[in-house]
Symmetry: C2
Subunit: 148 residues, 2 copies
DNA sequence: CAAGAATCATTCGAGCTGTGAACGATTCTG
DNA sequence: CAGAATCGTTCACAGCTCGAATGATTCTTG
Protein backbone atom coordinates (compact mmCIF):
# COMPACT_ATOMS: atom_id res chain seq x y z
CA UNK A 1 0.00 0.00 0.00
CA UNK A 2 2.49 2.60 1.12
CA UNK A 3 5.41 3.26 -1.10
CA UNK A 4 8.39 2.60 1.04
CA UNK A 5 10.95 3.31 -1.59
CA UNK A 6 14.32 4.19 -0.26
CA UNK A 7 17.01 4.03 -2.87
CA UNK A 8 20.56 5.26 -3.06
CA UNK A 9 19.42 8.70 -4.16
CA UNK A 10 16.92 9.32 -1.41
CA UNK A 11 19.61 8.80 1.18
CA UNK A 12 21.41 11.83 -0.14
CA UNK A 13 21.46 15.20 1.52
CA UNK A 14 21.21 16.93 -1.84
CA UNK A 15 18.14 14.94 -2.78
CA UNK A 16 16.37 15.57 0.48
CA UNK A 17 17.09 19.26 0.39
CA UNK A 18 15.95 19.49 -3.20
CA UNK A 19 12.69 17.61 -2.85
CA UNK A 20 11.76 19.13 0.48
CA UNK A 21 12.60 22.56 -0.85
CA UNK A 22 10.38 22.22 -3.87
CA UNK A 23 7.60 20.75 -1.75
CA UNK A 24 7.76 23.58 0.76
CA UNK A 25 7.92 26.14 -2.02
CA UNK A 26 4.81 24.67 -3.57
CA UNK A 27 3.01 24.74 -0.27
CA UNK A 28 3.99 28.32 0.35
CA UNK A 29 2.90 29.29 -3.15
CA UNK A 30 -0.47 27.67 -2.52
CA UNK A 31 -0.76 29.49 0.80
CA UNK A 32 -0.20 32.96 -0.64
CA UNK A 33 -2.05 32.38 -3.90
CA UNK A 34 -5.39 33.49 -2.39
CA UNK A 35 -3.70 36.80 -1.61
CA UNK A 36 -2.99 37.30 -5.28
CA UNK A 37 0.76 36.95 -5.14
CA UNK A 38 3.48 34.40 -5.76
CA UNK A 39 6.60 33.69 -3.75
CA UNK A 40 8.75 36.07 -5.79
CA UNK A 41 6.36 38.89 -5.05
CA UNK A 42 6.68 38.16 -1.37
CA UNK A 43 10.43 38.21 -1.69
CA UNK A 44 10.28 41.61 -3.30
CA UNK A 45 7.97 42.97 -0.63
CA UNK A 46 10.21 41.57 2.08
CA UNK A 47 13.28 43.25 0.65
CA UNK A 48 11.42 46.54 0.39
CA UNK A 49 10.30 46.24 3.99
CA UNK A 50 13.86 46.68 5.17
CA UNK A 51 15.45 50.05 4.67
CA UNK A 52 14.92 52.79 2.16
CA UNK A 53 13.12 52.65 -1.17
CA UNK A 54 15.18 50.68 -3.65
CA UNK A 55 15.75 50.87 -7.37
CA UNK A 56 14.78 47.93 -9.51
CA UNK A 57 18.41 47.20 -10.23
CA UNK A 58 19.09 46.81 -6.55
CA UNK A 59 16.11 44.53 -6.19
CA UNK A 60 17.30 42.42 -9.09
CA UNK A 61 20.76 42.14 -7.58
CA UNK A 62 19.57 41.23 -4.11
CA UNK A 63 16.96 38.79 -5.36
CA UNK A 64 19.38 37.27 -7.85
CA UNK A 65 17.03 37.64 -10.76
CA UNK A 66 17.21 39.50 -14.02
CA UNK A 67 16.05 43.15 -14.05
CA UNK A 68 13.36 42.47 -16.60
CA UNK A 69 11.71 40.10 -14.17
CA UNK A 70 11.57 42.81 -11.53
CA UNK A 71 9.63 44.90 -14.01
CA UNK A 72 6.78 42.45 -14.23
CA UNK A 73 6.80 41.68 -10.51
CA UNK A 74 6.65 45.40 -9.73
CA UNK A 75 3.94 45.89 -12.34
CA UNK A 76 1.74 43.35 -10.65
CA UNK A 77 2.43 44.62 -7.14
CA UNK A 78 1.64 48.12 -8.28
CA UNK A 79 -1.59 46.82 -9.74
CA UNK A 80 -2.44 45.53 -6.26
CA UNK A 81 -1.57 48.90 -4.72
CA UNK A 82 1.06 47.15 -2.67
CA UNK A 83 3.99 49.28 -3.81
CA UNK A 84 4.59 52.74 -5.17
CA UNK A 85 6.84 53.36 -8.11
CA UNK A 86 8.05 56.91 -8.54
CA UNK A 87 10.86 58.31 -10.60
CA UNK A 88 13.89 59.15 -8.54
CA UNK A 89 14.23 62.94 -8.73
CA UNK A 90 17.97 62.66 -8.26
CA UNK A 91 18.42 60.23 -11.11
CA UNK A 92 15.49 60.20 -13.42
CA UNK A 93 16.44 56.90 -14.98
CA UNK A 94 15.66 55.13 -11.74
CA UNK A 95 12.42 54.15 -10.11
CA UNK A 96 12.15 54.30 -6.37
CA UNK A 97 9.99 51.46 -5.13
CA UNK A 98 8.46 51.62 -1.70
CA UNK A 99 5.78 49.79 0.25
CA UNK A 100 2.33 51.25 0.64
CA UNK A 101 0.28 50.63 3.75
CA UNK A 102 -1.63 48.01 1.82
CA UNK A 103 1.68 46.46 0.85
CA UNK A 104 2.70 46.23 4.46
CA UNK A 105 -0.56 44.51 5.28
CA UNK A 106 -0.11 42.15 2.36
CA UNK A 107 3.40 41.31 3.45
CA UNK A 108 2.22 40.72 6.99
CA UNK A 109 -0.39 38.29 5.73
CA UNK A 110 2.22 36.45 3.69
CA UNK A 111 4.55 36.26 6.65
CA UNK A 112 1.72 34.87 8.73
CA UNK A 113 1.23 32.18 6.11
CA UNK A 114 4.94 31.41 6.24
CA UNK A 115 4.84 31.26 10.02
CA UNK A 116 1.95 28.86 9.91
CA UNK A 117 3.80 26.69 7.44
CA UNK A 118 6.81 26.76 9.74
CA UNK A 119 4.63 25.69 12.62
CA UNK A 120 3.33 22.74 10.63
CA UNK A 121 6.83 21.73 9.71
CA UNK A 122 8.28 21.97 13.17
CA UNK A 123 5.26 20.30 14.72
CA UNK A 124 6.63 16.93 13.67
CA UNK A 125 10.08 17.86 14.90
CA UNK A 126 9.65 19.37 18.31
CA UNK A 127 10.90 22.77 19.37
CA UNK A 128 14.51 21.85 19.96
CA UNK A 129 14.98 20.04 16.69
CA UNK A 130 13.11 22.78 14.90
CA UNK A 131 15.59 25.39 16.09
CA UNK A 132 18.49 23.11 15.34
CA UNK A 133 17.25 22.75 11.78
CA UNK A 134 16.90 26.51 11.45
CA UNK A 135 20.46 26.97 12.64
CA UNK A 136 21.93 24.34 10.31
CA UNK A 137 20.11 25.72 7.31
CA UNK A 138 21.27 29.17 8.27
CA UNK A 139 24.88 28.03 8.21
CA UNK A 140 24.41 26.43 4.81
CA UNK A 141 22.64 29.49 3.46
CA UNK A 142 25.22 32.02 4.56
CA UNK A 143 27.93 29.69 3.32
CA UNK A 144 26.27 29.76 -0.08
CA UNK A 145 26.02 33.54 -0.13
CA UNK A 146 22.29 33.50 0.41
CA UNK A 147 20.52 35.91 2.72
CA UNK A 148 20.05 34.39 6.10
CA UNK B 1 29.78 45.73 -0.62
CA UNK B 2 28.29 42.58 0.76
CA UNK B 3 24.56 42.35 0.87
CA UNK B 4 23.73 41.66 4.45
CA UNK B 5 20.00 41.57 3.96
CA UNK B 6 18.11 39.73 6.60
CA UNK B 7 14.43 40.48 6.54
CA UNK B 8 11.40 38.90 8.12
CA UNK B 9 11.10 36.38 5.33
CA UNK B 10 14.65 35.12 5.37
CA UNK B 11 14.28 34.20 9.02
CA UNK B 12 11.64 31.69 8.06
CA UNK B 13 12.16 27.96 7.89
CA UNK B 14 10.02 27.73 4.79
CA UNK B 15 12.09 30.37 3.01
CA UNK B 16 15.41 28.77 3.89
CA UNK B 17 14.26 25.35 2.83
CA UNK B 18 12.88 26.71 -0.41
CA UNK B 19 15.89 28.76 -1.46
CA UNK B 20 18.45 26.20 -0.35
CA UNK B 21 16.48 23.49 -2.08
CA UNK B 22 16.40 25.28 -5.38
CA UNK B 23 20.08 26.17 -5.07
CA UNK B 24 21.08 22.60 -4.36
CA UNK B 25 18.86 21.33 -7.14
CA UNK B 26 20.52 23.71 -9.56
CA UNK B 27 23.93 22.59 -8.46
CA UNK B 28 23.03 18.96 -8.82
CA UNK B 29 21.56 19.62 -12.26
CA UNK B 30 24.80 21.30 -13.29
CA UNK B 31 26.80 18.39 -11.93
CA UNK B 32 24.95 15.72 -13.90
CA UNK B 33 24.44 17.79 -17.04
CA UNK B 34 27.77 16.63 -18.53
CA UNK B 35 26.45 13.08 -18.24
CA UNK B 36 23.56 13.99 -20.51
CA UNK B 37 20.81 13.75 -17.91
CA UNK B 38 18.72 15.94 -15.67
CA UNK B 39 17.66 15.36 -12.07
CA UNK B 40 14.38 13.73 -13.05
CA UNK B 41 16.24 11.20 -15.14
CA UNK B 42 18.39 10.36 -12.15
CA UNK B 43 15.28 9.94 -10.06
CA UNK B 44 13.87 7.51 -12.55
CA UNK B 45 17.09 5.52 -12.71
CA UNK B 46 17.25 5.42 -8.94
CA UNK B 47 13.75 4.05 -8.65
CA UNK B 48 14.50 1.42 -11.26
CA UNK B 49 17.63 0.41 -9.39
CA UNK B 50 15.52 -0.93 -6.56
CA UNK B 51 13.48 -3.99 -7.22
CA UNK B 52 11.89 -5.38 -10.31
CA UNK B 53 11.23 -3.72 -13.64
CA UNK B 54 8.45 -1.21 -13.28
CA UNK B 55 5.69 0.02 -15.50
CA UNK B 56 5.56 3.66 -16.44
CA UNK B 57 2.44 4.16 -14.39
CA UNK B 58 4.23 2.96 -11.30
CA UNK B 59 7.12 5.27 -12.04
CA UNK B 60 4.77 8.18 -12.45
CA UNK B 61 3.07 7.39 -9.18
CA UNK B 62 6.27 6.98 -7.20
CA UNK B 63 7.92 10.03 -8.73
CA UNK B 64 4.76 12.07 -8.33
CA UNK B 65 4.71 13.23 -11.90
CA UNK B 66 2.27 12.82 -14.73
CA UNK B 67 2.56 9.67 -16.88
CA UNK B 68 3.20 11.65 -20.04
CA UNK B 69 6.33 13.04 -18.47
CA UNK B 70 7.62 9.54 -17.82
CA UNK B 71 7.25 8.89 -21.51
CA UNK B 72 9.72 11.57 -22.49
CA UNK B 73 12.11 10.77 -19.65
CA UNK B 74 12.11 7.11 -20.64
CA UNK B 75 12.51 8.06 -24.30
CA UNK B 76 15.66 9.98 -23.54
CA UNK B 77 17.08 7.35 -21.21
CA UNK B 78 16.44 4.72 -23.83
CA UNK B 79 18.23 6.90 -26.34
CA UNK B 80 21.23 6.82 -23.99
CA UNK B 81 20.98 3.02 -23.72
CA UNK B 82 20.49 3.44 -20.01
CA UNK B 83 17.21 1.58 -19.80
CA UNK B 84 15.36 -1.09 -21.70
CA UNK B 85 11.70 -0.79 -22.53
CA UNK B 86 9.93 -4.00 -23.44
CA UNK B 87 6.27 -4.81 -23.63
CA UNK B 88 5.06 -6.78 -20.69
CA UNK B 89 4.04 -10.19 -22.08
CA UNK B 90 1.47 -10.59 -19.33
CA UNK B 91 -0.22 -7.29 -20.05
CA UNK B 92 0.62 -5.98 -23.42
CA UNK B 93 -0.52 -2.48 -22.61
CA UNK B 94 2.36 -2.10 -20.20
CA UNK B 95 6.01 -1.44 -20.70
CA UNK B 96 8.51 -3.02 -18.38
CA UNK B 97 11.40 -0.65 -17.79
CA UNK B 98 14.68 -1.97 -16.48
CA UNK B 99 18.21 -0.72 -16.12
CA UNK B 100 20.91 -1.74 -18.55
CA UNK B 101 24.53 -2.15 -17.49
CA UNK B 102 25.22 1.25 -18.96
CA UNK B 103 22.30 2.60 -16.97
CA UNK B 104 23.79 1.24 -13.79
CA UNK B 105 27.08 2.93 -14.59
CA UNK B 106 25.30 6.16 -15.39
CA UNK B 107 23.40 6.02 -12.13
CA UNK B 108 26.59 5.32 -10.23
CA UNK B 109 28.20 8.39 -11.78
CA UNK B 110 25.21 10.51 -10.83
CA UNK B 111 25.28 9.19 -7.29
CA UNK B 112 28.96 10.01 -7.10
CA UNK B 113 28.13 13.56 -8.14
CA UNK B 114 25.47 13.71 -5.44
CA UNK B 115 27.92 12.38 -2.87
CA UNK B 116 30.45 15.01 -3.83
CA UNK B 117 27.82 17.68 -3.50
CA UNK B 118 26.90 16.30 -0.10
CA UNK B 119 30.53 16.46 0.93
CA UNK B 120 30.75 20.11 -0.08
CA UNK B 121 27.61 20.90 1.86
CA UNK B 122 28.61 19.11 5.02
CA UNK B 123 32.14 20.49 4.85
CA UNK B 124 30.91 23.77 6.27
CA UNK B 125 28.88 21.97 8.90
CA UNK B 126 31.11 19.32 10.35
CA UNK B 127 30.32 15.63 10.52
CA UNK B 128 28.04 15.70 13.54
CA UNK B 129 25.90 18.57 12.31
CA UNK B 130 25.83 17.04 8.85
CA UNK B 131 24.30 13.86 10.18
CA UNK B 132 21.92 15.81 12.37
CA UNK B 133 20.72 17.70 9.32
CA UNK B 134 20.23 14.46 7.43
CA UNK B 135 18.17 13.07 10.25
CA UNK B 136 15.97 16.15 10.61
CA UNK B 137 15.32 16.34 6.90
CA UNK B 138 14.52 12.66 6.94
CA UNK B 139 11.85 13.19 9.57
CA UNK B 140 10.34 16.04 7.60
CA UNK B 141 10.42 14.04 4.39
CA UNK B 142 8.73 10.96 5.76
CA UNK B 143 6.23 13.18 7.50
CA UNK B 144 5.38 14.69 4.13
CA UNK B 145 4.99 11.33 2.48
CA UNK B 146 8.21 11.65 0.53
CA UNK B 147 10.64 8.81 0.08
CA UNK B 148 13.31 8.98 2.68
C1' DC C 1 30.33 72.24 -23.96
C1' DA C 2 29.65 68.38 -27.12
C1' DA C 3 29.90 63.54 -28.32
C1' DG C 4 30.14 59.05 -27.00
C1' DA C 5 29.92 55.59 -23.28
C1' DA C 6 27.34 53.84 -19.53
C1' DT C 7 23.11 52.98 -16.76
C1' DC C 8 18.20 52.30 -15.89
C1' DA C 9 13.70 50.55 -17.02
C1' DT C 10 10.93 48.46 -20.47
C1' DT C 11 9.39 45.50 -24.16
C1' DC C 12 9.48 41.54 -26.83
C1' DG C 13 10.66 37.01 -28.35
C1' DA C 14 12.49 32.49 -27.08
C1' DG C 15 13.45 28.29 -24.33
C1' DC C 16 12.47 25.09 -21.05
C1' DT C 17 9.27 22.34 -17.87
C1' DG C 18 5.53 20.20 -16.81
C1' DT C 19 0.53 19.62 -17.51
C1' DG C 20 -3.97 18.06 -19.39
C1' DA C 21 -6.85 16.46 -23.06
C1' DA C 22 -7.42 13.40 -26.79
C1' DC C 23 -6.28 8.94 -29.09
C1' DG C 24 -5.27 3.91 -30.29
C1' DA C 25 -4.30 -0.41 -28.39
C1' DT C 26 -5.25 -3.77 -25.03
C1' DT C 27 -7.52 -5.89 -21.15
C1' DC C 28 -11.18 -6.39 -17.82
C1' DT C 29 -16.26 -6.82 -16.57
C1' DG C 30 -20.82 -8.44 -16.65
C1' DC D 1 -19.76 -9.99 -26.89
C1' DA D 2 -20.31 -4.96 -25.82
C1' DG D 3 -18.83 -1.44 -23.03
C1' DA D 4 -15.87 0.37 -19.45
C1' DA D 5 -11.32 0.84 -17.79
C1' DT D 6 -6.21 1.01 -18.20
C1' DC D 7 -1.72 1.87 -20.40
C1' DG D 8 1.29 4.46 -23.20
C1' DT D 9 1.70 8.08 -26.54
C1' DT D 10 1.19 12.45 -28.85
C1' DC D 11 0.28 17.17 -29.02
C1' DA D 12 -0.98 21.80 -27.90
C1' DC D 13 -0.59 24.77 -24.26
C1' DA D 14 0.39 27.68 -20.10
C1' DG D 15 3.87 29.42 -16.69
C1' DC D 16 8.23 31.03 -15.61
C1' DT D 17 12.55 32.95 -16.45
C1' DC D 18 16.04 34.73 -19.35
C1' DG D 19 18.54 37.60 -23.03
C1' DA D 20 18.78 40.95 -26.59
C1' DA D 21 17.19 45.26 -28.42
C1' DT D 22 15.28 50.00 -27.43
C1' DG D 23 14.54 54.67 -25.50
C1' DA D 24 15.47 57.80 -21.94
C1' DT D 25 18.71 59.78 -18.93
C1' DT D 26 23.20 60.58 -16.87
C1' DC D 27 28.18 60.30 -16.73
C1' DT D 28 32.76 60.85 -18.83
C1' DT D 29 36.19 62.98 -21.30
C1' DG D 30 38.47 65.54 -24.45
Amino acid sequence: MDDVNANALTGTLAFRLGTLGSLVSARFAAAVAPLGVKPKHVGLLAVLSTGAPASQQELARVMKVVPSLVVSLADQLEELDAIERVRDPEDRRRHRLSLTDGGRDLLAACLAAAAELDAELTASLGAADGEALMRLLGVLASEAGLPG
